[in-house]
């Protein structure tokens, strides 16, 4: 995928004017945050679970090599194969070779952000293997030659008319604007692909070291058909997803669905442990796990290590005022929102993604909802410092992007604005906690509600922390 992060400013400006996109983003803002809040309210232990999950992830990262070794040992004991890939290119080649070994013509795919990260589909296609996305959202995007704009709701930027048009064009059936009808149509269309595919590729939410199992958490059941019907199942996963035991996986499962969609539990949580066993009547005959590093091992021991705790729940973007205003595509690469603003510079280079850590109001909401308590604003600040050290940030790029960064490049003015503004905003927002009109900043508030600051300004906190 072409990196468009350097054009964040232009992307954002276009996004803000895009009436259809703004309508679609309304669906996100009206849904995920409330559903998460309701699910959290039903589980009094939720915050304690978050503490345990943070601590467990820290333990895992401190012993990452050893848990990965144990995982590999047990995958092999189950009859599977593990492939280690340092770069995206290594991973693409490895996956293609497995497909070619099977003389594969088509592969079905469950939803996997790592395969987006390594740009797998284009590569397979160019090499004569046809990938078919089977997650409803991903399928819609594939028909439209589009990319996900959200890590769990990939087609969140589309409205139903877009889906209806895409289906009408590709399925050659009468057009319908009824979501139930559209889903039935996709179900019917994809059945033949599920059975015809030579290889099924899925991601993994976790890798269990103890048992050599991979797990996917899905609501549609497409991932299960993808991995059960073809002769070969390839799991593509990044290395930080390993957990010690089934009990430890369970801790994260309790947090994942609630943080993501606000469900009590995802419909299908499926563990895969190797190929078909003697006597089994179905299931894949070959089982491969492709472990992708792609810059993650460099984060171990760095100031960004905490980012490796991420379980890809999407809560941070669901609650982010910037994401909610400009949508995922504005970020210009695979991972959007706060988690993307930390990960993308690591994966594509700060020189290509320096704007992203600036694409924040530093309201702190992301950290507040993150199930593994990743200090996202702090990590974004680290990137800003690095960028500054490298003198990579032209002031012209920052101005106009947001009122915040406009003032940030003028420290005195910013401090003045922020402390006056902070008090003013709190007054103005009243009980709602949001304000939609702000003097001096109509370029900003024309398009979004400015979240009311919850306490001290960023600079005040920054000073205190660094004392």
């Amino acid at each position: 995928m072409q990196i468009k992060s350097p054009e964040f400013k232009q992307n954002a400006r276009i996004a803000l004017e895009d009436v259809n996109l703004q309508r679609a983003l309304g669906n996100l803002k009206a849904g995920f945050p409330q559903k998460r809040a309701a699910a959290v309210a039903r589980l009094p232990e939720f915050d304690q679970l978050r503490d345990e999950a943070r601590d467990l992830k820290n333990h895992i990262l401190e012993h990452l090599d050893l848990y990965l070794e144990e995982f590999e040992k047990n995958v092999v004991a189950n009859g599977g194969t593990v492939h280690w890939c340092r770069t995206a290119e290594d991973a693409r080649k490895t996956i293609l070779e497995i497909c070619q070994d099977q003389d594969a013509k088509t592969v079905t795919k469950g939803k996997s952000m790592v395969t987006e990260e390594i740009d797998l589909n284009d590569y397979l296609e160019k090499n004569g293997v046809t990938p078919v996305e089977t997650d409803l959202g991903e399928y819609i995007l594939q028909l439209r030659e589009d990319h996900p704009s959200h890590i769990i709701a990939p087609a969140i930027h589309l409205n139903i008319e877009d889906v209806a048009d895409a289906f009408h064009e590709h399925h050659k059936r009468p057009k319908s604007n009824d979501p139930a009808h559209l889903m039935r149509e996709a179900r019917e269309m994809l059945r033949k692909h599920f059975v015809a595919a030579d290889v099924g590729i899925t991601g993994a939410n976790f890798l269990v070291a103890e048992t050599g199992s991979t797990i996917i958490c899905t609501n549609e059941g497409n991932g299960d058909l993808t991995q059960t019907l073809p002769k070969t199942h390839i799991v593509v996963s990044s290395i930080e997803k390993v957990v010690p035991t089934l009990e430890d996986m369970t801790l994260f499962l309790r947090l994942l669905a609630r943080s993501a969609t606000g469900q009590e539990f995802t419909v299908y949580n499926t563990l895969s442990s190797g190929p078909r066993r003697p006597g089994d009547q179905d299931g894949p005959e070959n089982f491969h796990v492709v472990l992708v590093d792609n810059g993650r091992s460099d984060m171990v021991g760095s100031e960004f290590q905490e980012m490796l705790r991420c379980i890809r729940c999407s809560a941070c973007m669901n609650h982010c005022p910037v994401y909610g205003a400009v949508g995922g595509h504005s970020y210009g690469w695979v991972y959007p929102g706060p988690m993307g603003s930390v990960l993308t510079p690591q994966m594509v280079g700060i020189e290509n993604a320096g704007l992203l850590p600036n694409a924040s109001t530093f309201c702190g909401k992301c950290e507040e909802v993150c199930p593994v308590r990743i200090p996202l604003p702090k990590l974004m600040r680290h990137w800003r410092d690095k960028e500054y050290e490298k003198h990579l940030s032209p002031t012209s790029v920052r101005s106009g992007l947001s009122v915040w960064s406009f003032f940030a490049t003028r420290p005195k003015l910013y401090r003045l604005f922020a402390s006056v503004g902070n008090r003013f905003l709190r007054l103005k927002a009243g009980k709602k906690g949001r304000t939609s009109k702000l003097p001096l900043a109509s370029a900003w508030t024309d398009h979004r509600d400015m979240p009311a600051p919850s306490g001290k300004t960023f600079m005040q906190q920054w000073k205190e922390q660094n004392r």
Binding site: E247, V267, N269
Partner: protein, 222 residues
């Protein structure tokens, strides 16, 4: 070699000393202990309340539930259900519980023991256990229980014995380890309600790629 390269970077980042026996011991201890993390109060109730919780949570997840007093009623209940729902054909697993069903054969229901195929209307399998915490079924693959039965047909019928309902997932893992002698089955399926998607405008639609209906026959008694 990618693996060595990745490991070197991780170990370098962590400043692993040349003698890392302490780290190895910590990892082995964690793997051996299979320590349980915090288990919510909700999952730690007396048996009768757990049963109630399972029923409520399964209902909330849009599973359909039919309660039966004994195994003797099961075959008849399934035949009735099929008739009422216009189902003429059922593919089934071949485990002991299902093999022992005494079908009346009165209706028109045709049964076949095999893996599922595209176009199958309905399947019948046995759950290994139920997890009350979220109304979840645990099933696993084996010679007698093909996985496709759980995913391909339009309707999935599952037999669940009330006596196998546990509170938290952790109890289910323990039961699974006991039942399989510690080795993992090829696949373990935790299923909570029928298939769904909200990928179009975040509006929830039931019946995406997996079964559109999940019907649990809950057996009380023995």
């Amino acid at each position: 070699m990618s693996k060595a390269d990745i490991f070197n970077r991780i170990r370098g980042g962590l400043h692993v000393p040349s003698d890392d026996s302490a780290r190895r011991a910590a990892v082995q201890a964690r793997l051996d202990a299979r320590k349980r993390n915090l288990i919510p109060q909700r999952a730690q109730l007396p048996a009768d309340e757990l049963l109630r919780l399972f029923i409520d949570m399964a209902d909330e997840a849009a599973a359909e539930l039919i309660e039966l007093h004994s195994a003797a009623e099961l075959a008849g209940a399934i035949e009735n259900w099929a008739q009422e729902n216009g189902i003429a054909h059922l593919v089934t697993a071949s485990d002991e519980q299902i093999n022992n069903l005494e079908w009346s054969g009165n209706g028109t229901l045709v049964r076949e023991e095999r893996v599922a195929q595209v176009g199958d209307e309905a399947s019948l399998t046995s759950a290994f256990c139920g997890i009350a915490e979220t109304g979840t079924l645990m099933l696993y693959s084996g010679e007698e229980s093909p996985t496709t039965l759980n995913f391909l047909p339009d309707t999935h019928l599952v037999v669940l014995r009330a006596s196998t309902i546990v509170g938290p997932y952790e109890d289910a893992w323990q039961m699974l380890r006991q039942a399989t002698g510690g080795s993992m089955p090829r696949t373990v399926n935790l299923i909570t309600g029928p298939s769904r998607s909200a990928d179009i405008e975040q509006k929830l639609q039931m019946g995406a790629h997996g079964p559109r209906r999940l019907v649990i026959f809950l057996l009380h008694g023995e």
